[in-house]
Amino acid sequence: MDKCRKNIVVLEPSKIVYEGLYASISKSEYGYAFFHIHTLSEIKELTSIKNISVVLINPALVQNRVSEFIRIKKQYNDIHWVGIIYCFFDNATLKLFDATFQITEDTTAIIRKINRICNNKSSDSLHDEHLSKRETVVLKWLSKGLSNKEIADKLNVSIHTVNTHRRNIMDKTGIRSLAGLTVYAVSKGIISLE
């Protein structure tokens, strides 16, 4: 349903490191597709056929080619660049990336980080599991079978806003199907069956 199938590129010469990242990150609940490339210049070729969300990159590959890297980053500004940290890199290099992770970090922490980047979720907004008033209203209409567009019209907001509410409802309740959300809404008294 809302699961994203995003493309992750691993820019890293070592096959062992790539295989390790692939095996670990494949355990995420989101179905990521993986691509392994060895040099910065291969990005251009790949982006022409695939929509890339994230590049996990070995910082050593850009250390001596900073200006080229900055140019590529500007050219593909939708891509999130995540540094794979396995030894000391100076701050100037690390600053080039949108995020970094240590290869010694716990796998689930790395997965969470990548999930977050791919979904653009802020980590703090999800701590409160109670639905807000607005979310409850959106849930009510959803359970009654209204489309996103109809809800947007009713509440006088954009479809994009309705989608955001919808995503938050799913994240907070852990329920992603419409039928499941309806059961939730009935059991919590948000709607009645009559």
Binding site: T173, A179, V183, S187
Partner: protein, 236 residues
Amino acid sequence: MYKPQNSYITKDKKMIDLINENYSLLLCLQHFHIDFSVDNLTVKQLCEEYHINLNVFMVIANLYNGFFPSHHEIDKIDDIHSIISFLKSNHSFFLDDKYPELKYYLGKIKNNQSNKDIFLIEQFFNEYFEEVLEHFKYEDDIAFPYFCSLLDDHASYQQNSFSAREYQNHHTDIETKLTDLKNLLLKHIKIKSDLNIMRKFLDTLFGLEFDLKIHSVIEEKILVPLIEKIEQGKNG
């Protein structure tokens, strides 16, 4: 709690050791129609005895041990028929074994009380299973025969009538609702019931989720890419 990591299955490991380490491999053996009395046979010997493609077995058994296949391992698979027959066996396990079991527990839970919420859960469960049935029927009647005709190059293969891409689009995410059912019961809805029966119900749900997860990984990450490669070859 100490939980050893399952080992990566290679052809020379002894099946008995692997089962002792992770008994969910029994289910994997069942799907391959392999008897549980495995003697001292290695994975390779066992596959030979049962005429099962070794690469296919190792890729699938490793999924049960938590290892996703690499592109290289997927590329090595040269027997798509056995993947399809594994998936078919998976279907019958789901329908003939797990479904009646869940129905039975649900009936018991329902008898114990008159809470309206259990009826909501039951309705959700029934609707969910209808979708599952529809999905399986689609695979058994349309997708799998198409794949087989593609592999065997039968005259019935028609170039543009169907494709792996279409299969993937049709492949609705049946795991989502299963997770929802678990979350409804564990997070949101309190149902007074005998704990033992409720645990067995949940236990079956978790077991099913595990098997379904493997089922869809095989379909999405192994079967579809392999079929697409063949389609590309045929379409020039």
